[in-house]
């Protein structure tokens, strides 16, 4: 069994290589920070088991943010047998510097030279020259098409990978320090190859150096101070300077740039980045996405429901009647209604949303949004990078909250997490807004709810920014080039994201609806409904049974919608329109959109931010939702 780690800068295609390699689907996009946890997959190749770990992208082995730390810790603590350094062939210098760090630490290494298709249009990369200069095997790959992946797999399964004897020569002063420390720890087991670990020690990196004895740590500190005094530059900066110098030399030796005009996508890249043209384009993109979700979703809804009524019609309740009489019909009616609710209200919007998200992600447009909106985000104590978790959160809050790891300090993450939970509607919440208010009341009213949410977002953000101890935020993001999204990647990503919905939420909903039908049949639920009617009927102006939708909505937000249909005693999904008044729809959707994160979100929040903060946020959001609902009800009944 060979343990392999995929490591590389953000957005060099590690996840796509991983997917190609293992066939295990992971989500990949055209911006850094898509992967924030590491995943593993095992394949058997030529009789050898190869276990691959897909790590979050990292610029260096310094562990500068939480997602980078995940990657570096895995390297330091688990010591994989082999490292695949995924390099970007179009920006080789940067990748080589990371490679130097990996080689210093003595890992058996293979370089996957990704984006070779793009690189070939721009330069001639001499692979043999790179192999000779670096002492490692270099495999040109194109992860998008799968080129080179087989060769990579063969190499990993073979014994041909060896640690390289290449190393960077640093400034002679630094070399003399390295020599001195190496000698002093010659008899100690430091767990890593000595030269690499000593360099990490001199850089002041705590990750590879925990086994050094105290007196050596002290001596290294003194060396750092001595060097800084004499050179007016700290040692890690100087080490970086030497590494980039070396990378530049090697690149110049092995890569010959071709003269060429800027390609169309590069020119488009420039236009989307320039503030004067970029901001109008941003508005167009946002409006376009929003409108297509509403209209394509609506279109899909009609098509699906047509097919359903033709194929199935009233078959399910009829079937229920045949096997269980009146009682059976009631139960099966619930199932039928749930299926209808899901098919017509939930699926179209979720599907279109994830398709759009997939295309946005793969086009490389999201980092442009980050850059253009950065200034505005500062007003909420966040930087532009916070846009990406918010957009992901529009799909599902759980990955949205995980994505906050790439954002920065605990303060920023907490602000962002709270905003996502309280004011960013997940796709199920959007389905409720668009599916009920949008369908039965009017799209303008749905827009008002979004507007309310947006105002909430800004207000909560500004308040948290004001009340929490200030910390400056710093944006540092790579801007990838624009590229045309690949249908297959967008499709598989969309499937990965909605699979969970089909496999878990849908069955849960069906079972839930049967149970609720039964409970309604036997009048078990009523004791729960009446005591709360002062709130639902009195304050929100909704039918008393909606309390059940609110309660079960905690499990899954989609559930609330399905239950609403059943609870109100509709026999057909369209009948819903006659059972609630427009203002009741509005209040219901508004409350659903703001209140209480679902169980899965709460679980991930506890994991990321701790129990106390999660409880505070949950209580706040329930209160807020109730207040908003009461306020809306009052305003609408005037």
């Amino acid at each position: 069994m060979v343990n392999v780690a995929l490591i590389g800068h953000p957005n060099v295609g590690k996840s796509l290589i991983f997917t190609r390699f293992t066939g295990v689907g992971v989500i990949s996009s055209n911006y850094g920070g898509t992967t924030v946890e590491f995943r593993e997959g095992t394949v058997v190749r030529n009789g050898t088991r190869v276990c691959i770990h897909d790590l979050p992208g990292t610029y260096s082995l310094a562990g500068n943010s939480e997602d980078e730390l995940v990657a570096v810790q895995m390297l330091a603590e688990d010591r994989p047998d082999c490292v695949v350094l995924v390099a970007d062939a179009t920006r080789l210098e940067q990748s080589l510097v990371l490679l130097f760090e990996v080689l210093e630490l003595g890992y058996r290494t293979v370089v996957a030279l990704n984006f070779m298709d793009l690189a070939r249009q721009r330069s001639e990369v001499d692979v043999a020259c790179l192999e000779a200069s670096l002492g490692v095997r270099v495999v040109p790959t194109v992860a998008r098409t799968g080129e080179g992946i087989d060769r990579l797999a063969d190499l990993l399964a073979s014994d041909e990978t060896v640690p390289s004897d290449f190393f960077v020569h640093y400034d002679s002063h630094i070399e003399s320090f390295i020599h001195e420390v190496k000698r002093s720890v010659a008899r100690t087991d430091i767990g890593h190859p000595a030269r690499g670990a000593v360099i990490k020690l001199l850089e002041g990196n705590p990750l590879f150096t925990e086994r050094f004895p105290d007196h050596v740590l002290e001596r290294a500190g003194a060396m750092r101070r001595e060097f800084e005094e004499e050179h007016g530059e700290s040692m890690d900066v100087h080490i970086g300077r030497d590494r980039y110098g070396e990378a530049h030399t090697i690149t110049r030796r092995c890569v010959v740039g071709l003269k060429r005009k800027l390609s169309r996508s590069e020119r488009l890249s420039d236009i989307t980045l320039r503030p004067a043209t970029g901001l109008p384009i941003l508005m167009v993109v946002l409006c376009g996405v929003f409108l297509s979700i509403i209209y394509l979703g609506g279109l899909l809804d009609t098509v699906i429901m047509d097919i359903y009524s033709q194929l199935v019609g009233d078959a399910i309740p009829a079937f229920g009647h045949r096997i269980g009489g009146e009682f059976g019909e009631a139960a099966m009616r619930g199932v039928d209604l749930s299926i209808q609710a899901i098919l017509s209200l939930v699926i179209p919007y979720i599907l279109v949303f994830y398709l759009m998200l997939g295309m946005l992600e793969d086009s490389g447009y999201l980092p442009r949004m980050v850059v253009l909106l950065d200034g505005v985000m500062h007003r909420m104590g966040l930087h532009g990078g916070a846009i990406i978790p918010m957009i992901v959160g529009l799909g599902c809050n759980v990955p949205g909250i995980l994505a906050t790891r790439a954002v920065g300090s605990h303060r920023e993450r907490l602000i962002l997490g709270t905003l996502i939970v309280m004011a960013v509607p997940c796709s199920a919440q959007s389905a409720i807004i668009i599916g009920t208010v949008g369908n039965f009341v009017g799209i303008g009213h749905a827009l008002i709810i979004y507007l309310v949410l947006f105002v909430l977002l800004v207000m909560i953000g500004r308040m948290m920014h004001k009340w929490m101890v200030f910390e400056p935020t710093t944006l540092a993001i790579d801007i990838p080039e624009l590229s045309i999204p690949q249908v297959s990647n967008v499709a598989s990503k969309t499937w990965l994201r909605i699979k969970e919905f089909f496999l878990i939420a849908f069955p849960l909903l069906l079972v839930g609806s049967v149970i609720i039908e039964l409970m309604l049949f036997y009048d078990v639920l009523m004791p729960l409904v009446e005591p709360m009617s002062w709130f639902t009927v009195g304050l929100l102006g909704l039918p008393a049974v909606t309390i059940l939708a609110f309660i079960f909505g905690v499990l899954r937000k989609e559930m609330a919608l399905g239950l609403l249909v059943i609870l109100l005693g509709a026999t057909h999904i369209e009948e819903l329109a006659t059972l609630l008044t427009p203002s009741q729809f509005f209040v219901f959707a508004l409350v659903m959109a703001t209140y209480m994160p679902c169980l899965a979100t709460m679980a991930v929040m506890v994991k990321e931010y701790g129990t106390r903060d999660t409880l505070v946020v949950s209580v706040c959001s329930i209160t807020l939702a109730a207040l908003l609902g009461i306020l809306a009800n009052m305003l609408l009944s005037i």
């Binding site: 610029y59 260096s60 004499e230 050179h231 503030p275 980092p367 950065d374 200034g375 500062h378």
Partner: protein, 207 residues
């Protein structure tokens, strides 16, 4: 410690691009060959320079760094004497030459803070060099070579270094964004957006 003569000798070698013979060094320092021979040997022992079998004197990396520190100090003094004390340009150089060896680090530090308040400590001060500015001060489309990173905070330095912003590399400032937004810069083949505050730590020489 390196003697005054030694410091002058390292500076002479640091200024010249190529290796020098003893004779060249002597004439650059306006002294005779015999006087500097001992100095050169001492410096060789300390690892600042190396005498090749053909008699040519080469400066080592260590020597070159030291020469940079000395030259920055020299520049600092020149700008202090010229800008603050308003001395004549001819006098400034000679005055600086004799003062530079005697100045304590503390004084260098104070002077540097006085005439370039943004630079800190014994960090290279480029007050005399109007071409050196924070990267964020470049015009849109302006180019520069990174000279040093101006910051005490290890985490930020580490972030800048790992994104490839190290001294010696060339950067282009491509776009600026309103409302305190980021700056879009290009280093090598990479394009990145960094917050203003981070970019302001990168000192560049215009090219």
């Amino acid at each position: 410690m390196v003697s005054n003569l030694g410091e002058d000798c390292i500076m002479a070698l640091g200024r010249s691009k190529a290796a020098m013979s003893m004779e060249d060094i002597a004439s650059a320092m306006e002294l005779d060959e015999g006087t500097i021979r001992v100095t050169v040997t001492t410096l060789e022992d300390k690892g600042y320079l190396r005498v090749r079998p053909d008699g040519m004197v080469h400066i080592t990396n260590r020597g070159r760094r030291f020469a940079e520190v000395l030259m920055r100090r020299h520049q600092l003094l020149e700008s202090f004497l010229g800008q603050v004390l308003d001395l004549d340009t001819d006098e400034v150089h000679h005055e600086a030459c004799s003062l530079e060896h005697k100045l304590s680090d503390e004084s260098v530090d104070r002077i540097s803070r006085m005439i370039c308040p943004k630079g800190r400590g014994t960090r290279p001060c480029w007050a005399g060099d109007a071409e050196v500015t924070p990267l964020s001060e470049l015009d849109q489309g302006g180019r520069g070579e990174i000279v040093f990173l101006r910051c005490e905070d290890k985490a930020r330095i580490s972030r800048l270094v790992s994104m490839g912003l190290v001294p010696g590399r060339e950067v282009v400032l491509e776009n600026e964004y309103a409302l305190g937004g980021p700056l879009l810069i290009r280093v090598g083949d990479c394009r990145m957006a960094l917050s203003r505050e981070l970019v302001g730590l990168v000192m560049v020489r215009r090219i």
